[in-house]
């Protein structure tokens, strides 16, 4: 927990420095018609840097042996995070409906170990229902791929 706290505060502080540099580039003083573009970001960056510094001091002083997340917890988090990121990546190529179906299928089968029948039924019906609600009912187009093109959408 302590290490994660220190790491996060450091990253945020770095972010503050980046913003500060950008604000200085934009100009943070009084322009011909009021405060310049960098005025507000400049002071925000100062606030972030000052307060993350204080958080760092606090975190360094604190002694905590409690880990940020146990190995098992981290594994559980990653089993959700990676497939989700993969789905988003695949959406670029095969559209959201197919990517969603594949994602549902693999997650329910490999993580949940549910029966083939229910996995197939759910991973087909959910995207189809989504299609009907969004494309047909509310006319909100979602990303489509080759399959939808082949079906004429």
């Amino acid at each position: 927990m302590r290490a994660a706290d220190i790491a996060t505060a450091s990253i945020l502080m770095l972010l503050g420095v980046v913003v500060l540099a950008e604000a200085i580039r934009l100009g943070f003083r009084w322009g011909p018609d009021g405060p310049q573009s960098g005025f507000f970001p400049f002071w925000l960056a100062v606030v972030v840097i000052a307060h993350t510094a204080a958080i760092l001091v606090q975190a360094v002083r604190k002694h905590s042996t409690e880990p940020f997340a146990s190995r098992e917890q981290l594994r559980m988090v990653l089993t959700v995070a990676w497939p989700a990121a993969a789905m988003v990546l695949f959406t670029h190529f095969i559209g959201l409906y197919v990517a969603g179906a594949v994602y549902l299928f693999f997650y329910m089968r490999l993580v949940g170990r549910h029966s083939w029948a229910s996995v197939v039924a759910l991973s087909l019906s959910i995207p189809v229902a989504t299609f009907l609600v969004f494309e047909k009912w509310f006319l909100v187009p979602l990303p489509k791929g080759p399959l939808e093109a082949w079906l004429g959408y």
Binding site: A4, D5, T8, L12, L15, E22, L26, W30, D33, G34, P35, Q36, S37, G38, F40, P41, L44, A45, V47, V48, H51, A54, I55, Q58, R61, K62, F68, A69, Q73, L74, M76, V77, T79, V80, A81, P83, A84, A85, M87, V88, T91, H92, L96, G100, Y103, L104, Y107, M108, G112, R113, H114, L122, I126, F134, F138, L139, V140, P141, L142, P143
Partner: protein, 505 residues
């Protein structure tokens, strides 16, 4: 004049279409409130794109009904599963779950829903009476007053929010920084884009809400390896009527809860402290304080009344001042802008049908809501018996669709994943997320109010102290900002605690 307005509102809210919208909203909202990882704020955010083609009044009725539903849904998981869906339902678990374990889940739920309804009704009546007055006052506000109010908004997160004040301030500043990315509306310059085209449009707070609260919450709940072990309940009319006979006994608790809820609720982040305060007061006033925590009906009544009153009260600053009081209100605020309305005091002058329709729908929505949840509790509770490996990918997919649909842009879905990871880390390290979202929503407005004020005063910050209304608000805001420091100092003086600033708990 007041009666005419509210009649106009009911005229709008009681059309068959708007009533249907309210029913759908409450049903969806209750489901969202019950599902882990989907709370009021991101439920509203995900559905927002579907409202782009609706008339604004129906759209806001859908979203507010969703919010009431989510508040009711939170009570179901708290009582039956000991899982607070939202921070303000934590206090409901104290006595709600023990009651359910004793086989009195139906009584506890009836009490929870009824108290929610009473709290909401009370807050709605106060909104009906005071919103026009507050809006009239706000019409006189200039940029300095608005900036001062925004500072008050954020200062109450620092002073009253309960998280580490340092981390609250960092969250606020980060939200403002994210809001500043993209085009500077005043000078037309590009800021913080570092030459990257995707950054030019900036970060949309709807995507941030879905990522931070939706994906982040899912990651947190899988980490805990959630298994839902719920108490079973049988709901029937007899239990409901019997419980209702018992409830008037707690009228003092109701009244206290209503006032605490409303008073805390129209300040940001107020619902959670309100529910705890109401619970604590009820225990202190009770003749049998030792029964609290073991399954006392009054221990369900107190926090639920206050939380729901606060949830409704959070709408007040949004419609009168144009400042959302909670992340959910912030998403609705964004919706108003997308539908082409300007949130704030002008609504009462320019869009009376919208604003009074919204207020009237608070009455109808909560009434429909309490009837629906009482009737369908077993159905809603059954949702949590769906295996987690089916719920998780489904919720992730819904979040992805919601993020995409805001701008029809894939980059937003990536931002959602990124915000999800940030939300997970921030939650674990106790950086509060609500002020970050609010700062992201209000960023542009706050910045232009500040810049306009400074232009008015030729660069002097004293303008915030020279104008009487602004001065009062500014001083109050400054007080809240330094409150944690004062508390630390006083504690150090009395040597009760270790001489370091309070750590996040």
């Amino acid at each position: 004049m007041g009666i005419d307005n509210i009649l106009l509102g009911f005229h709008v809210a009681i059309t068959p279409y708007n009533l249907m919208v309210a029913v759908i909203g409450i049903a969806l909202g209750t489901v969202i409130g019950v599902l882990p990882g989907l709370g009021g704020a991101n439920g509203v955010a995900i559905l927002l794109p579907l409202t782009f083609r609706m008339p604004p009044t129906s759209a806001i009725i859908l979203l507010t009904s969703l919010y009431w539903g989510a508040l009711f849904g939170g009570a179901i998981t708290s009582v039956l599963f000991n899982i607070p869906g939202e921070p303000w339902s934590v206090a409901t678990t104290f006595d709600g779950y023990p009651l359910a374990r004793k086989g009195q889940g139906a009584q506890a739920l009836t009490a929870a829903f009824s108290s929610s309804f009473v709290g909401a009704l009370f807050a709605t009546i106060l909104i009906t009476l005071f919103a026009p007055l507050l809006a009239n006052l706000a019409l006189k506000f200039g940029p300095p007053e608005f900036f001062a109010i925004q500072m008050l908004t954020f200062s109450s997160f620092v002073g009253l929010g309960g998280s580490d004040p340092l981390k609250s301030i960092v969250s606020i500043a980060l939200g403002f920084i994210l809001a500043a990315v993209g085009l500077d509306i005043v000078t037309g310059q590009l800021r913080l884009t570092f030459g990257l085209t995707p950054l030019m449009t900036g970060f949309d707070f709807i995507v941030a809400v879905i990522g931070l609260f939706g994906i982040g919450e899912i990651l947190l709940s899988v980490e805990e390896g959630l298994k839902f072990e719920g108490a079973r309940t049988k709901m029937n009319l007899r239990v409901v009527l019997d419980t209702w006979k018992e409830l008037p006994r707690y009228w003092r608790t109701f009244l206290r809860g209503c006032f605490i809820g409303f008073w805390m609720g129209f300040k940001p982040g107020g619902a959670t402290p309100a529910s705890f305060m109401s619970y604590a007061f009820a225990r202190r006033a009770s003749k049998h304080p030792e029964n609290f925590g073991k399954g006392e009906l009054e221990g369900v009544v107190a926090p639920e009344t206050a939380a729901h009153a606060a949830g409704v009260a959070a709408m007040l600053p949004m419609i009168t001042l144009g400042i959302p009081g909670s992340p959910t209100a912030a998403v609705m605020f964004g919706g108003l802008i997308i539908w082409g309305l300007q949130p704030g005091p002008m609504l009462f002058k320019e869009q009376p049908e919208f604003v009074w329709g919204l207020i009237a729908s608070m009455y109808t929505g909560n009434l429909i809501g309490v009837v629906m949840v009482l009737a369908f509790v077993p159905l809603f509770a059954a949702i949590l018996r769906i295996p987690f490996a089916i719920l998780t990918p489904f919720i992730v997919l819904v979040c992805a669709i919601g993020s995409y649909a805001v701008h029809n842009n894939m980059i937003d879905v990536w931002y959602m994943i990124l915000f999800g990871v940030v939300g997970y880390v921030f939650k674990k390290l106790h950086y509060p997320l609500a002020p970050l979202v609010l700062a992201l929503v209000l960023g542009d407005m706050a910045e232009s109010a500040l810049r306009q004020s400074l232009i008015m005063s030729q660069g002097s910050l004293l303008i915030f102290l020279r104008r009487p209304i602004a001065a009062v608000i500014t001083l109050l805001a400054l007080f809240f900002f330094v409150l944690p420091a004062i508390n630390t100092w006083r504690r150090r003086e009395s040597r009760l605690h270790a001489p370091v600033a309070p750590h996040g708990t």
